[in-house]
Symmetry: C2
Subunit: 343 residues, 2 copies
């Protein structure tokens, strides 16, 4: 059996869940991938502090330097979060021709263009299924499953925190502050919930989805976005009475452009229009059924027509599921080529 | 730009839709796949009869012999349907080491084990995203996206014909015969609807999904299945009054086995239980929202938890979308290896 060695940087919620998955489902993974995965290194800030769940054969190391310098590690999984400087890590790993898997959406939204170009120049892959909607396989759907289609729109509930808050407000008649407090208590919202409730997190995610759907780079800073902080129980009741439900919708669609003289542009000159805003969704719409902390995305395209994907959009275990999917793709590439290590 | 040459066998609803997709979205496909697709041959029964939409550079040929004998065709797309003997075609193509894409679910349900073993021996790929639920990317989800998970159950509405009939019965109060007649008129049901309404088509599909989910071969002939022919408006009204809706559910789950002495087996000794039957689904269940000719599948697994996929489960254009997805995967393999033809 061939072995593929990977290095993981970061052992927080996501890193430890992914490491646990590799142990718990090792037999399944080997059967499906045709290779055995080994994790010689886990990079952390303080390697002297003992960690739960580390198995024999894995060495805790400080940061990522030792991992990147080992030529027998063809794949690096970046789960370091903010403080560890993931940009430097990913840049350096790709520069050395290593494949990188990341769950870092903010990194891609801010530096994606640079990093994907670097990966292409170095013949390395930069995989990021886990960066958008956690375990929901929306990246692979857009990149591979819908590859033969022209995509006309992507409509999504891509932030679990705000969907949880809106669901509690809708179903239990709570006010915004009350629902937020429950979300925080249950771990669905952070202490400082600004990035989620302002729509900023959704804007980062839809910028990545729109870039994939339309094949052009969308700067998330330019996305018109509004959060859910001003929605009141009165608004929700008004919607319900008319057969609608409030959802924070991240939308990307090809829209008609305008000529400089103000007239509508040629039908062929469409431009991507990307927005995030609380919308009234009809109760029979597929996205109205996405409840609680779940995410859902509706993609419309020319040959398939509409299709909908839904699943858990946050949490260590769902995110680990997507990291494993990316690892499966890379293991195929690596086991055919340079990273191959036979027993 | 590299070119990859493919042969298509069959130019009916699906074959012509796929051929049209390759023309209509050629630029998009080339950008996403990094290769240009050429179709030197389309195999049909009567090549002398003119066909709509055939582009310069494509030759109509009789059957599949000439296509299989051309060493410059690394990929064959089998869309020939019943009469053309697709089993012989797929066997021979794989034996020659050609990759095969098929939309033929009945072929896989009956001869899948033989064909997948043959493909493995020959180092060829047998791709079949289009064979189950048309354009819905459920095969790739099970094979690749959920690869890191242990799957505990797959619950699906996998037959659009019966879902259309049940939806009309539920929403418009029609009887079974009346709803069937409308489905036939709209092209959602065949003249002889037996395979669909008996649950047989759903059994073939769930046998394939269950085999992928659980990694063992499930013989569709052994699946307990019941169709929708005996459902009456009274049954539907009874369900509705209690908050349920009738759906034809194809189900595959790991169930506790039993010891020979009748006691429950070890918790570890679970067996796949696969059934097709009309079930009362609670109105808040994600599958209750799958209406009309749409398909929906709910997969439950250990790390991701539940996830749901929905889209058009029939028709030429949605099926063509899945064929293109398979072609994208094969083009990657071919362009790295033997089938590569540089300009």
């Amino acid at each position: 059996m061939e072995r593929v060695r990977i290095g993981i940087v970061g052992y927080g919620t996501v890193g430890s869940a992914f490491y646990r998955l590799l142990g718990a489902n090792a037999a399944e993974l080997t059967r499906r991938m045709g290779v055995e995965i080994e994790v010689p290194y886990v990079g952390v800030r303080e390697p002297s502090r003992p960690r739960r769940g580390i198995r024999p054969g894995t060495k805790l190391v400080k940061g990522y330097k030792e991992i990147l310098e080992d030529p027998k590690i063809p794949i690096v999984v970046e789960l370091a979060g903010g403080a560890e400087n993931p940009l430097e890590l990913v840049r350096e790993a790709l520069s050395r021709g290593k494949h990188v898997i990341t769950a870092n959406k903010a990194l891609l939204a801010a530096h994606g263009m640079e990093l994907f170009n670097l990966a292409r120049r170095k013949g390395a892959e930069l995989k990021f299924e886990a960066a958008v909607c956690a375990g929901m396989p929306i990246i692979k759907v857009l990149q591979e499953s819908l590859l033969g289609n022209r995509i006309s729109s992507v409509l999504g509930i891509v932030n679990g925190t705000t969907n949880y808050i809106l669901t509690r407000m809708t179903e239990d008649g709570l006010g915004y502050a009350e629902a937020l407090a429950i979300a925080q208590e249950k771990g669905f919202a952070e202490k400082d919930p600004t990035l989620d409730v302002s729509g900023g997190d959704a804007a980062q995610k839809i910028s990545i989805l729109a870039s994939l759907a339309f094949g052009c780079w969308i700067d998330y800073g330019s996305i018109l976005s509004e959060g859910i902080t001003r929605i009141t129980p009165k608004d929700i009741e008004f919607g319900r009475a008319s057969g609608f439900v409030f959802k924070l919708i991240a939308q990307a669609k090809m829209a008609e452009g305008w000529r400089a003289d103000g007239g509508p542009a040629d039908a062929s000159e469409k431009l991507p229009l990307v927005t995030v805003f609380p919308a009234l969704v009809p109760q029979a719409h597929p996205l109205a059924a996405i409840r609680g902390e779940y995410n859902g995305v509706l993609v419309d395209c020319d040959f398939l027509g509409p299709s909908v994907y839904q699943g858990k959009g946050a949490g260590g275990d769902p995110t680990a599921s997507s990291l494993a999917s990316d690892l499966g793709d890379l293991a195929k590439i690596v086991s055919r080529g340079a990273g191959k290590i036979s027993r």
